[in-house]
């Protein structure tokens, strides 16, 4: 369905995408997780032919993007990060307009717009202007517009930014059911729960590079039993940090603040005792201690030393 081979992109001297390769199979749901500025939107813009890719190759259904723009654009439905709708026009008008841009006839566009309104659960609001909609409803129409021409590949760029939890759940459920009906979905987000919920395969993007990718299972295996020990202490001594790092079974130590320390552990619980012992030996007072199970967020933290949501 979609193949990227060593894709790069620079804006001026700033290399934003630094050689990315991955493949998305038909019917898959593929998650692209990464913090703000990782290059998700840039990557999507290249896939849908909005901007040319600097180096490498992007193929949609085997067709080279850039060479067969008309065909590849027709295959893809893009949900942009911003709500790209006409606020003074009705939901129906908006949907029909985007349908027509994909070559639907007036009659066909009208019929399909009704179906799409049903899919996104806004049938009763079809005649209302977009500007009267809540943020969540706008997002749903924004998605609907990408479904008008019944694309084979739906690419969504952070479609749930800034909306209420209820709308968010509705969107996630909708996308999940669309995927179950056979639509190939690429979903980008910086919320790991969304990607975890929706996607079978996940790639984590950071600073223009794929730092890890695989099925949810692969990624979980990498984390297998991983645990994070969150310590809040009086004062951190550098020597204490060094000694903790040397402990057997400690994967990574991340200093959050002057008093906070995250210790990433393999599943061996006995290390916790060692850490406490070390602390008392080096005169570090522990105020608080928390054990957390690892998830994609901690994986990202492990790999980059930074948090997904900064």
């Amino acid at each position: 369905m979609l193949t990227l081979t060593d894709v790069k992109k620079s804006f001026g001297a700033h290399e934003v995408i630094k050689g990315i390769s991955f493949q998305v199979e038909k019917g898959e749901s593929f998650g692209l997780l990464g913090p703000n500025g990782a290059g998700k939107s840039t990557l999507i813009s290249m896939i849908c032919g909005l901007i040319p890719n600097g180096a490498g190759e992007i193929r949609v259904n085997g067709k080279l993007v850039g060479k067969h723009l008309k065909e590849t654009k027709q295959i893809i439905g893009v949900v942009p990060q911003d709500i790209a709708l006409y606020p003074t026009m009705s939901a129906m008008d908006n949907l029909m307009f985007w349908g027509k841009m994909y070559g639907l006839s007036g009659k066909k566009a009208k019929a399909r717009a009704k179906e799409v309104l049903n899919i996104v659960g806004l049938t009763e609001r079809g005649k209302d202007r977009i500007e009267t909609f809540s943020g969540g409803m706008k997002r749903r129409i924004n998605i609907g517009a990408a479904l008008m021409h019944e694309p084979q590949l739906l690419i969504m760029d952070e479609p749930t930014v800034g909306i209420d939890p209820q709308s968010r759940n509705h969107i996630l459920e909708t996308v999940k059911s669309l995927n179950e009906q056979g639509l190939t979905v690429i979903y980008t987000s910086h919320y790991m729960e969304e990607v975890e919920f929706l996607c079978k395969r996940i790639a984590i993007l950071d600073e223009g590079k794929l730092i890890v990718s695989g099925t949810k299972k692969d990624l979980n295996n990498r984390l297998a039993g991983g645990i994070v020990l969150k310590l809040t202490v009086g004062t951190l001594h550098p020597s204490f940090i060094e000694q903790v790092k040397k402990l057997n079974g400690v994967e990574k130590v991340i200093v959050q603040t002057a008093e906070e320390l995250d210790v990433h552990l393999q599943s061996k619980m006995e290390i916790v005792a060692d850490v406490i012992l070390l602390a008392s030996q080096s005169g570090v007072v522990i105020h608080n201690m928390q054990l957390k199970e690892a998830n994609l967020e901690t994986l990202f933290l492990q790999l980059t030393g930074r948090s997904l949501r900064e």
């Binding site: 901007i51 893009v78 942009p80 990060q81 911003d82 709500i83 790209a84 008008d93 841009m101």
Partner: protein, 382 residues
């Protein structure tokens, strides 16, 4: 083709859905035409009456008076000095214009050559003064010629003046040029206002329409458009057509309404259509050019309004260009409205045909090409 049409129709629908568009398109120009037209117009209820005293009593002053009498905005009453004072005292006239003895010779050296005595609180005083001066300056050309002639022929200038004005088809031929047109429709104040405000508000309307280019770009709608299988050419042409069509509709409605409400005769429809189209191309081009140079709609609006108002002033949209100094008239040649007004007045007042507005047409199209070139070469799409 279908997509171009879809974009075009969608934009038109969007425009007419906004209430502000309707106000801008029709309400404002009609209101302005009515207000301004009735201040300067013949149809007005309020007429200005000015007493005119001729102490000079020469061919020169008679010609000046004749010229003033033809004015539609102000009615002059020829009386003697005593009567004039009485009329003013009884408030039957708003002012007195006295053409003093010897003004013809004074005119060559000093100004003002006429005295003007307005009643208190008369707001149109500057207008009257200007008119009188203009009338005299027009006649003055002949006086100058007569003086030179008199010098060579060794005659008094008055007799030369008398001959010139008699033989040369007389001065009224010059002044009446416009009113002598076959259909006999004088360019009344309201006609002038109609033409002027139609131009101005079509420009403002087009400015607001071309603003959608920026809006669409900012809202990410263009980015989205270019992820669909449409080309830049299709998008631009769709937008462009929608601007043109809305402009046509606006002009058409303004012409229709002003001719039924205010009796304005717009002249030959074919020539008018051509002129309006040339003007619209030019105005849409200007809008696109401004849109391509700024980042936000607010910027475009601020700059656009400034450009439109100032060039409308220069271009004689609010008042006849013949009323401004020479330098300004030269500058005005570089303003599209000057040419649009020239074209429209030719059509309205002189019942001009396509041949008569050839020059304005060409100049307007030239402006259009320049503006579109700037706009399209600088436009950012994504």
């Amino acid at each position: 083709m279908k997509k171009i049409l879809s974009i075009c129709l969608f934009e038109i629908k969007r425009t007419f859905k906004k209430k502000s568009s309707i106000v801008l398109m029709l309400g404002m120009p009609l209101l302005f035409t009515f207000l301004f037209g009735s201040i300067f117009g013949k149809n007005a209820d309020i007429t200005f009456r000015i007493a005119l005293v001729d102490e000079e009593q020469t061919a020169f002053s008679k010609d000046v008076i004749q010229k003033l009498m033809m004015d539609e905005m102000i009615s002059y009453e020829l009386v003697n000095a005593l009567e004039a004072e009485e009329l003013l005292a009884r408030n039957e006239v708003q002012g007195i214009v006295t053409l003093e003895k010897g003004i013809a010779t004074k005119l060559r050296n000093e100004k003002p050559p006429a005295t003007f005595q307005p009643s208190l609180g008369m707001s149109t005083a500057p207008l009257v003064i200007q008119q009188v001066n203009q009338a005299m300056q027009a006649v003055d050309i002949y006086v100058a010629a007569s003086q030179v002639g008199g010098f060579y022929f060794n005659e008094s200038w008055e007799s030369v003046y008398g001959r010139i004005t008699e033989n040369e088809g007389r001065i009224q031929a010059w002044t009446e040029q416009k009113t002598n047109a076959p259909t006999g429709h004088p360019m009344m104040g309201i006609s002038y206002s109609s033409a002027g405000f139609s131009i101005m508000f079509v420009m403002i309307m087009m400015l607001s329409m071309t603003g959608t280019l920026i809006e669409a770009r900012q809202a990410g709608i263009w980015s989205r458009l270019f992820t669909t299988p449409v080309t830049r050419f299709q998008v631009l042409l769709g937008y462009f057509l929608s601007f043109l069509i809305v402009g046509w509709i606006q002009f058409f409605l303004l012409i229709l309404l002003s001719s039924t409400l205010f009796d304005v005769n717009w002249g030959s429809p074919a020539a008018l259509l051509l002129l309006v189209t040339a003007l619209l191309l030019c105005v849409v081009g200007l809008g696109i050019a401004i849109a391509s140079l700024v980042k936000t709609v607010d910027q475009q609006h601020a700059i656009g309004t400034l450009v439109i108002i100032s060039t409308c002033m220069l271009g004689g949209v609010y008042w006849p260009i013949s009323m401004v100094p020479d330098v300004m008239r030269k500058i005005a040649n570089f303003v599209p409205q000057t040419w649009a007004m020239e074209g429209l007045t030719t059509l309205i007042a002189d019942s001009g045909t396509i041949g008569d507005i050839f020059m304005p047409l060409i100049v307007l199209l030239g402006f259009a090409v320049i503006f579109l070139f700037i706009g399209l070469s600088r436009m950012k799409y994504v």
